[in-house]
Amino acid sequence: MTFVAMLKISLLQIKRKKFRTAILIVSVMLALSLLIGLNAGVNGLQKTYHNLVGTSLGYTDLIIKSNTTTPTFSTQTFEPLLHDDAIAAYSYRVQYWMPFASANGQFNGTSGGYLVGINPQVEDNFGSYKIVDGDYASISQALADEGNCVLEANFADRLNVHVGDSLMLGYFDIAEPLPEQPSQTLNLTVVYIIQDYGRTYWFDAKDPTSFARVNSDITVNLNVAQALFCLKPTDTTQVYIHLTDLKQARSVQVNLQNELGSDYVVGNLKATMYESVEQNFAAYQTITYIIGGMALMIAAILLLNTMLANVSERKREIGIMRSIGASKTQVFGEFIAELLPVAFVGALASIPLSMVAALAITSILPAGYVANVGTASAIEFSFPLSTLGYGISIGITLTLIVGLVPALLACKVKPVEALYPHMRRFHTRKKGKILLPTAGLAAVLLGLLLVQNGFSASSSWFPTATALIGYVATLTGAVLVASAFLPMLSKAFAQLLKPFIAQASVVVHRNITLNFRRSVFSYGALAISIAVLVSFSSLVTTAAAYNIAVNKQSIGADMQVWVNAPATFADQLKAVEGVQEVAGVGYISYGQSNMAFNGQQQASITVTGIASKDYFGAIYQTHLTDTLDDMPAEQVYSLLDESNGSIILQESLARNLTAQVGDTIIWSITNQTGTHQQALKVIATADLVAGRWETIAHFAKGYYTAIVSFGDMQSFRHALLKSNVDEFYVSLKPSADVTQVVNDLTQTCKDAGYNPTIYTAKDTLAQTQASFDQTEMLAVSVTAFFVVVGALGITAATAYTVTERKREIGVLTALGMNKRQNRVIIAGEALLLALIGTSVGVVSGLGLSLFAINAIPWWANVPTPSLVMSPFTISVAAVVISVAALLSAIYPANRISKLNTVEALRQ
C-alpha cells in the first residue's frame, strides 16, 4: 500500500468521523488559543510597562546626585566628564522641597511642593507629560520666560490655581535659622498645567537602586530655582544624562562613579526600571506557560484517549487491513496521518481565537503597578508573530507525539482477534491498578511539597511557577489516586441510573471499571480542569477576603480626610451629620527622624502626632502590649492628650532600641539647618495601631513608627515648617450615609478655604474588591476553557465507544431494552464519568486550595483566612460543569438513537 493510498484511507476516516475530528480540532484549538492568548496578553502588559518607562523617563538614562550633607554641587566639577561619546545629552536640574507656595499671597495653611528647576533648552527631551491646560507648545517654550511656572495637575488642584493665576513662592536662605515666614518671595505666572508621567524622579542617595516619583511639583526655569535657593549659576542638585546606547548604561555608570568618587551617586535609572519590568514579567510569562501547558496537557489527554478509543473501535478494520497485506508500519502511518490535519487545522484555527483571547485578556488584565514605574491606564494589545509561531509549533508537535502511542498500539493489534469481535478481551492489568494510585500518591506528595515551597518562597498569595508546577503534579496525582476508588465511585453513581434502567445500571458501571484506562483518562481530564477552576478561583476569592480584612485594618478608620489645617478644625468636621469622632494627626516622615536609647540607634522612623485622644476612638483598633505601671489603655491615651513628653513605641522598634516602658528615648530630626532633638518617656508599647504597625509582617521590615502627642511634635513640625496637622481620622455613626458625609465634609473644608482629599474605607475596600473581582473573572474565564476541553474529552471517548459497542446495544435491544433505556446506558456512562470527574475535581481542587491557604505566608496579623468560594465562581462552575456534563452525554446518546439493531447484530 502506497503512502497516497494510506493518506486516502486516513482522509476517508476523517470525513466519516467529522464530529470527532471536529472535537479534536476544537480541543487543540482551545488549548493553543489559551496558551498563545495568555502569552500575548502578558506580552502586551510587558510592552505597556516598557513603554511607560520610556515615556516617563524620556532621555533620562542616568542621574547624578550628591552623596554628602550638602545637596548642591558645582557643574564645573564634572562638566568635562560629561563630554563623552557614550553620553548623547545631559541636563542640570535643581530639585528642592519648596516650603512656601500660595495662590493668595498668604502662607497660612498653604502646601509645599517639590520645586524643579530645569533647563528649557534641553528639557523637553528628558521626560514625557500631558498638557492639561495652557497655550504653549511645550514646557521649554513655556519656561523660556523666567516669570512663568508649570504645575503638576494634582498640585494645581490642591492649591486651587489655574492657568493665568499668579503663584507666590516663598524661600529662605539655607544658612538662615528656620523662619516662620519666608525671607523672600517671588511671584510667577502659572502658564501650564501638566499631567506628569514621571519626568521628575527622586532617588535615595543611600540606595541608588530605589527610585520614587516626585509628585506635586512646580517646574520653573533653572535660573529661577537657582536664584530662589541662593545658588550660583553653576550649582545644581541633579544631573540627568541621556546615553547614545542604553546598553552602555552599566559601564558609563561605573566609569562616572569611579571618576566622581563617593561624594556623588550615579543612579542607573532607566536600565534598573527596565530590569524591574523584565523581572516582573519573566515570572508572569513562566506562569502563562504553565497555565497554557496545563490546558495543552488536558487537550493531550483528550487526544490520547480519543485516539485510543479510535484504535479500539477500528480493530476489525485494522485486522482486515493486516489480512490484505498492510504492514505494521503502514497501519502506524495511517493513524499518524489521521492526526496531521487535526494538528494543522487545530493550530491554524487557534490563530483568530488566540487573538480574541489576547484581546480579552488584555482588557481584563489589571493594569498593575510595577516598582516606581507607575500605573498603566490601559494595556497595550500585542500579538507577536514569534508567540504565534512557537505556539503553533508546540501544538503540532505535541499532537503528533501524543498520536504516537495509539498509532503504536494500532500496529500491534492481532489480526485474528481483531477480525472476531466476540473474541474481544479486556486487558485489565492488575499491576496498573496498583501502580497508578501509588504513582499518584507520590505525585500528590511531591506536588504538595512544591506548592508549599512555591508559596513560602514568595510573599504573595499569587502562585509562583514552582507552586503552579506543584498544582499540576498534585492534581494529576489526585486523579491517579482516585483511580483506586473508580469501582466504588462508579458503582455508587450508577445507583442514579436505576430509576431509568434498574439493575441494568450494572452494565454502565462495568463498562467504566473494565475500560479502566479510558475511564481514568476521561474523568481525569475533566477532574483536572474542574480542580484547576475550583482551586484557582477559590484562591483568588480567599485572597480577596483576606485583603479586604487587611485593608480594613490598614485603613484604620472609616475615613481619612487629608487636609492641611489647624488641629482645631476637627471640631468643625465633628459637627458634620453622621460623624462620630474626629482627630487630627501630623506626621514626621521616616527620612527625617531617628531615635536613640542607651547607645542603640534606629533611623527612618515615622512618628504620628495625635492632636487629641479622640484619635483612639476614631481608628479601628489599638493593641498595647505593655504599659507603664500596668496602667489601663484609657489612661495611656489620656497621657497623650497633653504635651508631657510621652511616647508609645512600636514593639519591634522598642526591641531594636532595647527600650522598655518607663525608659526615656531620644528622638531627633535633621533639616537644612541642623539637628533637633528631644527626650520622650515610653509609656506603652503596641503591636497594632490602626491596623498598621506590626500587622503587615512583610512590609514591617524596616518600617518603624511611634505615637506622640501633636504638641510634643510641634517643635519638630516647626523645624520642618509644618504647623498644621496633615490629616483627620474620622469614625462614623452606624447610621451615617457615607456619600452624604463625604459631601458634607468636603463642603465644610471648602467653606474654610481648604481643598481636601478624602479616602473612605468603603471606597478603598470596594476598589480592592473590584480588583479581585477582575482577577477572579480572569481566573474563572481561563479555567472554564479547561473544563470545556475536559468535557470534550468525555464526549469524544464516549462517542467512539458507541461504534465499538454497537453489537452490545443491539443485544440489549434484542433483550427488550427500549431506545430510551439504551440512551441511558450510553449517556449514563458519559454522565457517570462526568460525575466522577466532577467529584474528584471538586474534592482535589478544594483540598489543594485548603493546603495552599495554609502554605501561603499571609503577611498581616489578621487571622489566617478560611477557604472562600464566591457565589460568582460557584454559579459559573455549576453552569460550566452542567453544560460540560450534558455536552458529554448528548452526542453519544443521540448517536444511539440512530442505531439499527439488525445491522448492529450483524457486526
Binding site: F426, Q503, V507, R510, L514, A814, G816, N818, T901
Partner: protein, 229 residues
C-alpha cells in the same frame, strides 16, 4: 396445538428501486406452541430476515405478523418492545453475551429489563445456569468461557423470561459439531419443559434430528414445510 406466531403474505425488501433485494417473498407460516422448528437454507435464503422480523427486530415491507395473538402492525413501539421482552427469546451464532457482565448477570439481565423482582430473578438465573451445567462458571465473564459454554449461557438467557417463542439464528454455527449438538439438545429439553416454541435457523443437518418440523427456504421463499418427527 395453539398458534403462537403467524406470518401472512409476508414480504421484505431491502434497498430501493433497481437496487432492491427481495429478502422474503410471500411467507405464510404458523408456529405452534411447544414446536421445535428448524429453518434450513443456504446463505441469503432469508432465514435471518425471517427470524429478525419474528423477533420484532425488523419490520416487514408488507404482510402481517401475529405473535401471541397480537398483530405487530397494530402495536406501537412501546408494545413491541414489551412483547419482545416478555414473549421472545433470542439466541445468536456468536452468542452475543454482554462482555462486561458475568454469566450469571447475563442470564439475569432479561429479567431485570422485564422488571422481575431482583430476588426472583437471581433465583431463576441460578436455576437456569444449573440447568445448562454452568453453576460453577456463574461469576465468569464471557471472555473466560469457551464457545460452547458461552452458547449455553445464551440458551439460559433466552429462557429467562419463559418466552413463548425462542428464535435461534445459526446457534451452532460457531461451535464444533459435538458441542453444537449438546447445546441444541439442551435447548430442546429446556424449551419443551417450559412449553416454548423454538425456531432455529441453521445449516447444520444434525439439528434436524431434534426438530419436529423443518422449513426449507430458498431465495426468500419457503420451498418446503414438513414434519420430520
Amino acid at each position: 396445538m395453539s398458534t403462537i406466531a403467524e406470518t401472512i403474505n409476508l414480504d421484505k425488501k431491502y434497498g430501493v428501486k433497481q437496487l432492491s433485494v427481495q429478502a422474503l417473498h410471500n411467507i405464510n407460516l404458523k408456529l405452534h406452541q411447544g414446536e421445535f422448528v428448524a429453518v434450513l437454507g443456504e446463505s441469503g435464503s432469508g432465514k435471518t430476515t425471517l427470524l429478525n422480523i419474528l423477533g420484532t427486530l425488523d419490520t416487514p415491507t408488507s404482510g402481517k405478523v401475529v405473535i401471541g395473538g397480537k398483530d405487530l402492525l397494530n402495536l406501537n413501539e412501546k408494545a413491541v418492545v414489551k412483547l419482545r421482552r416478555e414473549k421472545i427469546g433470542l439466541i445468536f451464532q456468536f452468542y452475543n453475551l454482554i462482555p462486561v457482565l458475568t454469566a450469571f448477570e447475563n442470564v439475569e439481565l432479561p429479567m431485570i429489563i422485564s422488571g422481575v423482582p431482583r430476588r426472583e430473578a437471581q433465583k431463576r438465573a441460578y436455576e437456569l445456569l444449573a440447568e445448562v451445567g454452568l453453576s460453577n462458571r456463574a461469576n465468569h465473564r464471557p471472555e473466560e468461557l469457551s464457545g460452547g459454554q458461552q452458547q449455553r449461557v445464551a440458551v439460559a438467557r433466552s429462557l429467562a423470561n419463559k418466552p413463548m417463542l425462542i428464535l435461534a439464528d445459526e446457534p451452532t454455527g460457531d461451535l464444533d459439531s459435538a458441542t453444537g449438538e449438546q447445546v441444541m439438545k439442551l435447548l430442546q429439553k429446556l424449551s419443551k419443559e417450559q412449553g416454548s416454541t423454538v425456531l432455529a435457523a441453521t445449516h447444520d443437518a444434525s439439528i434436524l434430528k431434534l426438530a419436529d418440523r423443518a422449513l426449507r427456504m430458498k431465495d426468500g421463499k419457503i420451498v418446503s414445510d414438513e414434519k420430520v418427527r
